[in-house]
């Protein structure tokens, strides 16, 4: 699925989207960067409240094309700069991580049962 489709279907607010056509096949929800590094798969949207530029570094490392910041936490300028440099999309939602995960998972057709 294209990142654009997920943004539209989940009603996410695009803060920075370098490539709306980026392929997304999964999602991962965590605020611990070591956990993200260990388990987040390539082409995933990372759902988190971790509004820090190191989150961008981690997504670059694992090949995650987008970060969805939950609770609409402010995205600092240096995080946006890092994301622009690395080509990682930044998205906002007022939902919690749980609600956002349910929505994104549903659109992606992921059923963890």
């Amino acid at each position: 699925m294209k990142l654009r489709d997920i943004i539209d279907a989940c009603g996410l607010e695009p803060v920075l989207v370098p490539d709306a056509e980026a392929e997304v096949s999964s999602a991962y929800t965590s605020d611990l960067l070591s956990d993200v590094v260990a388990h987040c798969t390539e082409k995933s949207v990372l759902i988190t409240v971790q509004n820090h530029k190191n989150t961008v570094a981690v997504c670059t490392l694992v090949g995650a094309p987008a970060i969805l910041i939950a609770h609409r936490r402010e995205i600092p300028a240096d995080m946006q700069e890092a994301a622009a440099r690395e080509g990682v999309a930044l998205l906002h939602t007022s939902d919690s991580q749980f609600a956002a995960s349910c929505k994104v998972g549903s659109v992606l057709g992921i059923d963890p049962r």
């Binding site: 960067l33 070591s34 956990d35 590094v37 260990a38 570094a57 981690v58 670059t60 440099r85 690395e86």
Partner: protein, 321 residues
């Protein structure tokens, strides 16, 4: 994204054969950042109490062939008698006075955990021959002069040169074909969250350029990231290196302190000494070494409380380009 500065050594078959590595001043910059004043200072001190007459200090200087004597009692530092003070005492006819009356008390001192780059700046700025060194408890623990720094730098540079020569020697097999695909080192500074993760991403890119299998790249990148963050969060700063040679990739993190008290405990899932601030940034979950161990084919931690830590993660490389 640029690599954390200063990244020090780039060894590739082409550059090993050439002179590029030897001309790289970043090796020296890394050394003067990594080495601390305590690694360089003289700790066997000839000192005198405040009551000692200047003529005794003069005799001590002659015997020990030194030009400055700290005045201290039970570790408490009071001042310094320099050879200039002795010359003035001889000229002024007060060489039998206690040194407390004439010692220099307005002194610039260094702390033992400062990097030697700091000490070098002080030598340039103040033009003194030596600086007393105090520890965090403000007790006299050593004295440092520029000769001490030169001596240690020469030793360390010599070690570095040997290491580079060894790498260079290993890089050619019998057919004259390079077996050392890549070696890269990065300096990682304490609490430098601005650059945290950049070295690992740089390593990942270099591996991608060499078209290693994606799953292997991911494993190496995970190890590099976790070790880089560990250096940033837990060490006083150190070096992260990645080397690929003879069908094996190695990621090594080296630091000079403060060391791990209980390595077994530190390698358990969920254990961490990170503070709240570090945790609030998403680090310090106690998963770092566990992750490294999980992804690596070989994993080794060498550490001692009060000295340095070296963590090595090795990977069998198959399908390298």
């Amino acid at each position: 994204m640029s690599a954390p500065a200063p990244s020090s050594v780039l060894l590739e078959p082409k550059s090993i054969a050439g002179s590029g590595v030897g001309n790289d001043p970043l090796v020296l910059l890394e050394l003067i950042q990594r080495l601390k004043v305590r690694d360089v200072m003289t700790t066997e001190l000839a000192t005198v109490p405040r009551s000692a007459p200047l003529c005794d200090v003069q005799e001590l200087m002659r015997r020990k062939k030194i030009s400055g004597v700290p005045v201290e009692e039970d570790g408490r530092f009071f001042g310094l008698v320099s050879i200039d003070d002795i010359i003035r005492a001889l000229g002024g006819g007060y060489i039998n006075d206690p040194c407390s009356k004439h010692m220099t008390t307005k002194l610039v001192v260094l702390e033992d955990d400062m990097p030697i780059s700091f000490a070098l700046r002080y030598f340039n700025r103040y033009h003194y021959g030596r600086f007393p060194v105090l520890n965090r408890d403000r007790r006299l623990v050593g004295i440092i002069c520029q000769r001490d720094i030169n001596r240690v730098l020469l030793v360390e540079l010599s070690k570095e040169l040997n290491r580079l020569e060894m790498a260079s020697g290993k890089s050619l097999d019998q057919d004259g074909v390079s077996e050392l695909y890549l070696m890269r080192e990065f300096t990682v500074c304490k609490y430098d969250f601005e650059n945290a993760g950049k070295a690992a991403n740089e390593i990942k890119r270099l591996l991608q350029d060499r078209q290693l299998p994606p799953k292997l790249i991911r494993r190496i990148a995970v190890a590099a990231y976790e070790l880089e963050i560990n250096l940033c969060v837990h060490s006083d700063g150190g070096m992260l290196s990645c080397q690929i040679a003879k069908g094996k990739a190695e990621v090594v993190a080296r630091d000079a302190g403060p060391g791990i008290e209980d390595v077994e405990w530190a390698c358990r899932d969920g254990t961490s000494t990170a503070n709240e601030w570090i945790r609030s940034l998403g680090f310090g979950a106690g998963m770092g070494l566990v992750n490294v161990k999980r992804v690596a084919d070989e994993f080794e931690v060498k550490s001692k409380k009060g000295s340095g830590t070296t963590v090595r993660a090795a990977f069998t490389v198959t399908g390298a380009a």
